[in-house]
């Protein structure tokens, strides 16, 4: 089978799906089966296993007693889940459900639990929360939900190729932003939207996270990463809702991705996962550093220079 795209552009993938009159997920599954030289069934089963890990990480992560290895985080997902289950959430069942699930997976990650990196561990709560919430709220089939992960993966592959998905390279926009864009495309497909709508949702998400820095307190993937997973999930639903309504993005997805790459390149390295700027160097950020490592973080110090792990 001839495929007229190579994951260098969202527009090319959309065009091919429209031409064949199939869903993005079907197109990506078929192309990947050919690329990886195995059957669609084998790939689907492999993806299904990952979806099971995602569900398990929501379950384990919403435990009230869960704490991260540093002790800084844990237990917040449970609080939001309680409110969600009470039926009195401010934002409704879908939104509060998505929030507690995003926090759950992300809090489990900080506790050195088992998660699926989507696309990274720092952003691992966004896609599971989005897809599982769609399944719960709309009683969607397991198969449909697993398939939507292929759509998300296709979007992620384009972003990874054109811009990169690591916080160290592109800031949080590249991590949680990419995850959020992937989730938005999956949500649009699960809600019955078109491939063009999915591309618009991707563009709308990324436009809203441009410039988001990676500034982990004490260098740990906890503060502010966990709450940014909740925020990334909210952004994904927002963008999907706009796109499903027919709202177009003035700047196409592929151009927004390049803009994100350029912003990432212009970002100071102190704001790219090095814990040398942003929230990491606030007075409270520094205090938390001391709380975790037992030494004070001075103005001219970095996480590295106060650590004695290497014995130097």
């Amino acid at each position: 089978m001839e495929f007229n795209f190579d994951y260098s552009s969202v527009a090319d993938i959309v065009k091919e799906a429209v031409r064949r009159e199939i869903l993005l997920s079907e197109l990506i599954l078929k192309q990947q089966a050919e690329q990886l030289e195995c059957s669609c069934e084998v790939l689907f089963e492999k993806m299904k296993e990952r979806y099971q890990v995602m569900k398990e990480s929501v379950r384990l992560g919403s435990d009230p007693d869960l704490r991260s290895v540093s002790g800084l985080t844990g237990g917040d997902s449970y609080k939001v889940m309680q409110r969600h289950q009470s039926g009195h959430s401010l934002v409704g069942s879908l939104f509060s459900g998505a929030m507690y699930r995003a926090l759950a997976v992300s809090e489990l990650n900080a506790a050195m639990g088992k998660i699926v990196a989507t696309p990274t561990a720092g952003s691992c709560g966004i896609l599971p929360a989005s897809v599982i919430t769609m399944q719960e709220e709309y009683e969607l089939s397991e198969e449909k939900c697993v398939m939507s992960l292929f759509t998300a993966a296709g979007v992620g592959m384009v972003i990874a190729g054109k811009a990169g998905v690591s916080g160290a390279q592109g800031g949080c926009q590249a991590e949680c932003g990419s995850a959020s864009a992937m989730a938005a495309a999956a949500i649009v497909e699960l809600a019955g939207g078109t491939a063009e709508m999915a591309a618009d949702a991707v563009a709308i998400v990324l436009k809203n996270v441009l410039g988001l820095v990676c500034d982990p307190v004490a260098g740990l993937v906890e503060i502010p990463c966990i709450k940014r997973n909740a925020s990334g999930t909210a952004t994904a639903f927002m963008a999907a809702e706009l796109a499903l309504s027919g709202v177009r993005s003035a700047i196409p997805a592929d151009e927004v991705i390049v803009a994100m790459k350029n912003v990432g390149d212009q970002m100071s390295s102190s704001l790219k996962e090095t814990a040398e700027g942003g929230l990491a160097t606030t007075p409270t950020g520094k205090n938390l550093f001391q709380q975790v490592f037992g030494t004070e973080m001075k103005d001219d110090e970095t996480v590295c220079s106060v650590c004695t792990g290497c014995g130097s």
Binding site: E37, M112, K114, V116, A117, T120, A153, S166, Q169, V303
Partner: protein, 218 residues
Amino acid sequence: MNVFDIIGPVMIGPSSSHTAGAVRLGLITHCLLGKKAIEAKITLYGSFAKTYKGHGTDKALTAGIMGMETDDVNIRHAIELAKQNGLSVTLDVSENAALHPNTARICLVAEDGTSVELLGSSIGGGSIEVTEVNYMPVFLTGEQTTLIVLHQDKPGVIAQVADFLAEEGANIASFYLSRQKKGGESVMTIEVDGTVNQNLNDKINALPNVISSTLLAV
């Protein structure tokens, strides 16, 4: 790149760049050595150097060096396990900013004195790039079935390896060759489509002038 690089890996937290990618760098070095390491010297660069302790990068690299996969629940105990298993790990940090932000140099030594040295980066989402083996430039990601053949720079070695691949019906996706000096140690890194038989690797290993051949399965 494929869908499971983006939806995956299934891993132990907290950071795919600093934990899962680091496990994979350690694991490839472990595979290249091909036997139990008793000594590991690790140098960290960039973000790895600055935040390794909080992310558990030292534990992750050590876990990979001991042969653990990215979803092994024992990663968090790697340092203690190394001590119990007679593996001595020393860790250094470097200020060299020219390299990718998340880079590590790993040198492993086995009991019989065999050693291997690797330079690689974790490029996000648990994906990696290996850029040097024994100070020779290479380029491999471990995303496709890969053969890493260390050999003496003598005429005919490449042809013999290529013959074996042809007999197996394996299609070469990329081929990269470099050497330390004329007639000295050389390395070919060969990415092939689909999968190949371990048998092929054994045959290459038995060739004259081949120092070692390592098959990295996907």
